[in-house]
């Protein structure tokens, strides 16, 4: 879709932050090159979700900086971050339960507005035929997999410069995970993405670069091919658990 926007990269430099007085991220350095899909792996409580929330402005960044296409996102409110072109698909889908499928997609166009929103909505419903069949149904009545499709669909409508996606595979059947990632790859073919996953094998298949996060720090990083060996990944995790 957004071929003209593939020139954007995301850089986190020494990002430190957390909730209230507790610090979760201790100087995180991550770089996402234009068009690149980057996986963030790591054990529970490593700070993966917190890192995405820091990018989106949902938590305060106490030190360090976050840049999108060279411009700082640090210190912006969440809605301002969205306006700069960041789409964040949160953990647990978080679709609007009382809105229909189409209303959910329309709500995603809040910032960009414009006339061609309907085209994007049509594109989403085409990419996910199950959503197309249920377009008038309230999102609260959808299955978990359908809600995840809808959450991805909202990101499509946002026409982002970069996508952040948190635990897309959580609680879903393997066949559904495969389908979702397949669609995701097509819909965001040229858009850089940060993919947080607890399921390393899925993430490694769809990303070109990997960061392993633990205790709020980057413990290992490298091309995905380096992590495909089970051993290497275990080492990174083991180092991470330290």
């Amino acid at each position: 879709m957004a071929a003209e926007t593939s020139g954007d990269g995301l850089v986190l430099r020494g990002v430190t932050g957390g909730y209230g007085r507790s610090t979760v991220l201790h100087g995180v350095d991550i770089e996402v090159r234009p068009g690149q899909k980057v996986a963030i792996l790591g054990p529970n409580g490593a700070g993966k979700t917190t890192m995405l929330r820091a990018v989106s402005g949902l938590i305060d960044v106490r030190a360090g900086e976050i840049l999108l296409g060279g411009e700082p996102l640090t210190g912006l409110r969440p809605d301002q971050v969205v306006a700069r072109g960041v789409a964040h698909v949160p953990q647990g889908r978080r679709v609007f339960p009382d809105f229909t499928v189409v209303e959910n997609l329309r709500a995603a166009a809040y910032t960009r507005g414009g006339r061609d929103v309907d085209d994007d909505i049509a594109k989403v419903l085409e990419a996910f035929p199950r959503l197309g069949e249920r377009s008038g149904i309230r999102a609260g009545f959808l299955s978990g997999g359908e809600q995840q499709m809808l959450a991805i669909g909202r990101a499509v409508v946002q026409r982002p410069r970069i996508v952040l996606i948190d635990e897309m595979s959580l609680g879903l059947a393997p066949i559904l995970i495969k389908e979702l990632y397949g669609r995701f790859d097509v819909l965001f073919a040229d858009t850089p993405a940060v993919i947080v996953e607890q399921n390393p094998s899925v993430a490694l298949e769809h990303c070109s670069y990997v960061y392993v996060l633990s205790n709020g720090q980057v413990k290992a990083s490298g091309p995905a091919s380096e992590f495909t060996s089970h051993e290497r990944l275990m080492q990174a995790y083991a180092g991470a658990v330290d």
Partner: protein
Amino acid sequence: MSAFLQAIVNGLMTGGVYALLALSIALIFKTMDAVNFATASMGAFCAFLFFQVGTILNLGWGAGLAVSIVGAVLLGWAVERGIVRPLGSGDLFRLVLATMGLDIVLNNATQIFFGSGVQNINAPLPAGGVAIAGLNIDLTRLVILGVAVAGAIVLGVVLRYSNLGVGMRAYAQDPQAATLMGVPARTVSRWTWIISSLLGLIAAIMVASVSVLSVGFLQGTFISAFTAAVLGGLSSLPGAVAGGFILGVLEALSIAYAPRAVTIALPVLIILVVLLIRPAGLFGRLSASRA
């Protein structure tokens, strides 16, 4: 039979105002999870502006309406900016307490600015009545019903079709997800209070038109509107409208058929019954605490 029908008609006409003020309460509860106990004094203050400019300064109703609308917008904006936002989203009880304090402040401000006397006002509404099928229909109350219904419809259209309305409804369902769709929390909060204030103004003008203008004149209606909102589920806007009309009709029936004490206690009785039998109200849903 005709007494029964007459009571229903009277009830529907009173219910319109309850519905409008209940919408003002429910709109804020839906987004803020808090009841605004200054609803009545905010509306009353602005209604004073309307009648002060319109009749007492004799500048005409158009001027009164313009000044009071500007007043209601500014008041809603100021309350959000000066009280709601600084209090933050932590402990909601603080916000509820703050609105109680605001109620006292505004009632006293009304007294200082507009005096403590009781003013009978000549509302710019048609007077008299017509008889239709043996029922007596008061024209003033019919117009009030029309205004209330129109107000509810305009609110519904704005919430359903405007970008802001979609954002407000999304925010009410899941504030954080709405934020991630680019809906600014401040904008939602600001317009929630401004629109609620405008609804209060309309309801207050309507009530004053058929009663009197005095400090605290809207308090009784607030109790009824609050009851109507609870009956409808507090966070449901259609519920608030339905609750308003149901309460109006029940009240009129109690006036026709029950001892006066029952009419006076009716709102409290209804709240009690709702809490005992259906705590979520007619249209509301019991929500687990927000994730």
